[in-house]
């Protein structure tokens, strides 16, 4: 339950060996690469290899060709693919592109004709009933004709105009009247303006529409049919083309993607003349296997150093977890990894999460099902999620045994306990409500105390005395919190007079003062000088008092609210039992034949709903009530370089 030890590795070699070095780093599977230098002052003449990726354009081109041919890209063995350079791949793309473009163009042309003809059909639909030929109408020498649509509202105004025109309506929809107007050519412009002012929208009948409407329909439909047939033929040709070239496209794409991604790794490599400089981290345990990769190469030198040897890069964090705690690493990663050299809380989370889940969702039968489900999920879907489920399932079974609850049947285990002579078990939840709630708060107090102790440990480890000694989660906070708890519990629950004057002064007032003055006290310890603010900014005594008064108020409030927050643990114990009671009541009320069904559906419902709520509530307790006391989560994730196939192209 610690953090994996790392080593800083620097690799120096010849430029000609760049690709092979990078490939070996990828092969190792444990090399976390860092930029060769971060700021110009550290570059020492080095330059980062930020060259334009020559495989970028062909990669996009090949992906586009595959998409237009409907080829689903997948990882393929490319050992017999002869293409090497970016130019080779570009030529390969051009070779495919030419026939593909020709076929696509022909298909597009057919589709365009279909679209135009269909558009004309829609327009002609509004002119049904026109028995005259379009050519004859439009070729009138003295009469101008316009086809189009007029808003319905404008139509009723037409009779109030005294110009010489007439409008022939053909079709009317919700908003427009479709038709044509005729007027003498001499006043065409005036009438056009008039209709324009009434928002008449002209429709240009395309040249390919000839004859009367019926004839035009027939011709258009025939043309649509012909072009649909042609488009289908082109589709078939494209499909044949795809079948013919699919294998070589798959091989070329996989190789191209590999080369492209490998080239991308260069951006963190430093170069000086013909030398390359690569920097990164490996886990210490992989030292030997990594060393072995480069032992044959004489011109490449690999130097191993302690992880803190280079101040410009922070070592990444790899959690080192045991078999039991490993699945809970997911929760820690969700919050944020610890700093390298920090505290790995996964073990603590594993124990508390399992414990709280068991308490809140205690049922032998349901816990067993969660366990089985965890095994299934772990095998088929997510090992981490499955692992968590199986562990909390076991915890649920243990607490279910203590509660005597099996699928909501609360009396099923009574005879077992009677035969064993244990009279204080099982715990009858509704008869021991106060005990359960007080125990929940006690668990909360214990967890908060442990969190504070962890914080003190981390504080001392990092030599942060404000955090370890004087902070609200340091020694002062621990003394203050435990003293108040002891005082309250002793006075209110046990009737013991604990709150004597020395107790109050030494264990409550002085620690509170320490928390209040944590910044100056820590400054005295750290810098041997008295300061009111840590960063050396000027702060008046008045400001200091006001600021710390409110902070102190917030700390006290957080002690109370965090402690009370654990009441939900008891609340969910009651809620779970209550929901199962409802299921049992429904079952009793149902017909005998329906009772098993009610029990199964009721249990399934409670398991899904209650299980999810409890899981979420515990995450909340972990993150807010526990992690907030000692955990920062500012660590850098370990991301070993590698080239993984993906059909996606950015």
């Amino acid at each position: 339950m610690a953090i994996e030890e790392m080593e800083l590795v620097t690799i120096v070699g010849l430029m000609s060996e760049l690709d092979s070095v990078l490939l070996k780093c990828c092969e190792s599977g444990c090399f976390h690469m860092e930029p060769a230098f971060v700021s110009a002052s550290e570059s020492h003449g080095l330059k980062l290899l930020n060259d334009k990726n020559p495989y970028d354009v062909p990669l996009k081109g090949l992906a586009s060709i595959a998409t237009s041919l409907g080829i689903k890209l997948k990882e393929t063995d490319f050992s017999d693919c002869a293409l090497e350079s970016g130019e080779d791949f570009s030529l390969f793309c051009d070779r495919l592109e030419k026939p593909l473009a020709e076929l696509s163009e022909k298909k597009q042309k057919a589709l365009q004709i279909i679209s135009e003809r269909k558009g004309a059909v829609i327009q002609l639909n509004h002119l049904k009933g026109l028995n005259e030929e379009f050519d004859r109408i439009f070729s009138c020498r003295h009469v101008a004709v316009r086809v189009g649509k007029l808003p319905l509202e404008s139509r009723e105004k037409l009779e109030f105009y005294d110009q010489e025109f007439f409008f022939v309506p053909f079709d009317t929809d919700r908003s427009f009247c479709w038709g044509m107007y005729f007027c003498p050519r001499e006043i065409k412009d005036i009438v056009d303006d008039l209709f324009k002012s009434m928002y008449f929208e002209r429709i240009v009948i395309p040249d390919f529409v000839t004859g009367n409407t019926a004839e035009a329909f027939e011709r258009l439909n025939a043309e649509i049919g012909e072009n649909v047939r042609m488009a289908e033929e082109y589709d078939e040709s494209l499909s044949d083309f795809a079948k013919e070239h699919e294998d070589e496209i798959q091989r070329a794409f996989t190789k191209l993607k590999f080369k492209h991604d490998t080239f991308d790794l260069r951006k963190n490599v430093g170069a000086l003349k013909d030398k390359i400089y690569i920097k990164g981290f490996i886990p210490k345990k992989n030292h030997k296997s990594f060393e072995k990769l480069f032992e044959d190469s004489r011109t490449v030198s690999v130097v191993y150093m302690p992880p803190d040897a280079d101040a410009s890069c922070t070592p990444p964090t790899v959690l080192k977890n045991s078999w039991f705690t490993r699945p809970f690493g997911m929760l820690v990663e969700m919050y944020g990894l610890p700093d390298y050299g920090g505290f790995n809380p996964t073990g603590f989370v594993a124990i508390t999460y399992s414990l709280l889940f068991g308490i809140m969702f205690g049922d032998l039968g349901q816990g067993f099902l969660v366990f089985l489900l965890g095994l299934f999920v772990g095998r088929k879907m997510s090992p981490q999620m499955g692992g968590m489920m199986s562990r909390v399932g076991i915890s649920s079974m243990i607490f279910g045994t203590l509660y005597g609850s099996v699928f909501g049947f609360e009396e099923l285990l009574d005879p077992v306990y009677e035969s064993l002579g244990i009279d204080f078990l099982p715990l009858k939840i509704f008869k021991q409500t106060n005990f359960i709630l007080l125990t929940a708060v006690a668990i909360g107090i214990a967890l908060i105390v442990v969190s504070i102790i962890i914080n003190i440990y981390v504080g001392f480890k990092q030599k942060d005395y404000e955090r370890a000694v004087f902070g609200c989660n340091g020694i002062a906070g621990l003394v203050f919190y435990t003293s108040v708890v002891v005082g309250v519990v002793g006075t209110m629950l046990m009737d013991i007079h604990v709150m004597s004057t020395p107790f109050v002064i030494f264990l409550i007032v002085i620690p509170a003062l320490c928390i209040f003055c944590r910044v100056p006290f820590a400054a005295v310890m750290k810098y041997r000088e008295f300061r009111l603010s840590e960063d050396g900014e000027k702060m008046t005594v008045g400001n200091f008092i006001v600021e710390n008064f409110f902070e102190m108020f917030e700390y006290v409030l957080s002690y109370v609210s965090n402690t009370m927050s654990f009441l939900r643990v008891g609340g969910f114990v009651l809620s779970h039992a209550g929901m199962m009671l409802v299921v049992m009541t429904l079952m009793d009320g149902a017909a005998l034949a329906a009772q098993p069904l009610v029990a199964v559906v009721g249990n399934a419902f409670v398991m899904v709903m209650e299980g999810m709520i409890v899981a979420i509530q515990i995450i909340r307790l972990e993150f807010y009530e526990i992690f907030s006391r000692f955990y920062d989560g500012n660590g850098k994730p370990f991301d070993p370089i590698g080239v993984r196939f993906s059909p996606q192209v950015d």
Binding site: E153, K157, F160, K196, Y199, E201
Partner: protein, 345 residues
């Protein structure tokens, strides 16, 4: 109590439609568009105008037609709201139709005065023709002001129009006509409110109407002072005879020596909040108050007549904003400047 409950459904319906109105974010998006078809397409996809613009081709639609469709959408909404619980039987609820009638009569006088007599019928909205008690199509055939009076005989507008001042060539004085028609509209509206509605509704509505009139008077007064150099007495004569803020305060504005002084005096009233010495968009700033008042009223009022009045005013403001945007986009106006002319948020 029952009377109040009986119109609660209308109030709820108004709030539901109010929820679909364009928001600040929508206006921000529209002002940054590059062409009118883009704006038309955007409006066509909005829940607010989806129905009325459904059959329209955004690429070919004329700006004027688009504007008339938006106005029609608002009018249709108004008709639906009034008929929803049979409110249209109460004369007050005809206020939008009466407003449109007055606007059309003014358009007619303007068209005749400027010799563009066909312009009236071109711009005459079809929905007004159908709902108006006036025969607007027949009015469109009027060739002079006497003709208008002849066709208006027997309607409530006859007496008003007859009293309008005339010039020597027989043309009607447009400014006088506008003042008289507006005064008549508001007087008739207040008459209906006092006669048909409850005292609480009357109080709320009068507050809205008088505020609206105040903004009209303020904008008018500013224009007359800044651009025509009218004296306080001339301004007073051209104002609508209602006020919420009080005659003395309005007189104080009219009596300002310069337009700048008028703005600084206005800043001390509710209508001039947020002016901060800005003189460019006085209409926008003053109308923003009306917008806020109407928006607040729609949100909190439980009275159907009050909510419907405020809501229709908001609809008008919304269409005006869209028209500004369409024109701005059409003539490539800077988005920031365009946004400054919108009455939003």
């Amino acid at each position: 109590m029952l009377e109040s409950c009986s119109t609660n459904a209308t109030v709820t319906k108004i709030r539901a439609i109010h929820g679909t109105m364009l928001k600040c974010g929508n206006y921000h998006e529209m002002v940054s568009m590059r062409s009118v078809p883009e704006v038309a397409e955007y409006l066509r996809r909005s829940p607010r105008f989806r129905e009325v613009l459904g059959d329209v081709d955004p690429n070919t639609v004329h700006r004027g037609f688009l504007e008339s469709l938006l106005n029609k959408a608002n009018f249709d909404t108004y008709v639906r709201l009034c008929s929803f619980q049979g409110l249209d039987k109460v004369p007050f609820y005809n206020f939008i139709i009466q407003k449109r009638e007055c606007e059309q009569l003014l358009n007619l006088v303007n068209a005749l005065n400027s010799g563009l007599d066909r312009k009236f019928i071109e711009e005459l909205p079809g929905y007004v023709i159908r709902h108006s008690e006036l025969d607007l199509l027949s009015l469109s055939e009027a060739s002079d002001f006497d003709d208008i009076l002849l066709k208006l005989r027997g309607t409530p507008y006859y007496r008003v129009m007859r009293s309008v001042g005339r010039s020597e060539d027989g043309k009607a004085d447009y400014t006088d006509c506008e003042l008289k028609l507006r005064t008549f509209y508001y007087k008739r509206l207040i008459g209906y409110i006092e006669k048909d509605l409850r005292a609480s509704d009357e109080r709320e509505l009068k507050k809205l109407i008088f505020s609206e009139v105040d903004t009209i008077n303020i904008i008018n007064a500013y224009r007359l002072k800044a651009f025509f150099g009218y004296t306080p007495e001339q301004i007073r004569k051209s104002q609508l005879p209602f006020t919420k803020t009080g005659k003395s305060r309005m007189n104080l504005l009219y009596e300002s020596d310069t337009p700048r002084e008028m703005i600084s005096r206005l800043e001390k009233t509710v209508y001039g909040r947020g002016f901060q010495g800005e003189y460019e968009h006085i209409e926008t700033k003053v109308n923003s108050y009306t917008y806020q008042l109407m928006k607040h009223t729609v949100s909190v009022s439980t009275s159907a007549p009050v909510a419907i009045y405020a809501f229709m005013k908001l609809c008008d403001i919304e269409v005006n904003n869209i028209v500004h945007i369409i024109e701005g986009v059409r003539y490539d106006v800077d988005p920031a400047m365009l946004e400054g002319k919108l009455i939003i948020c």
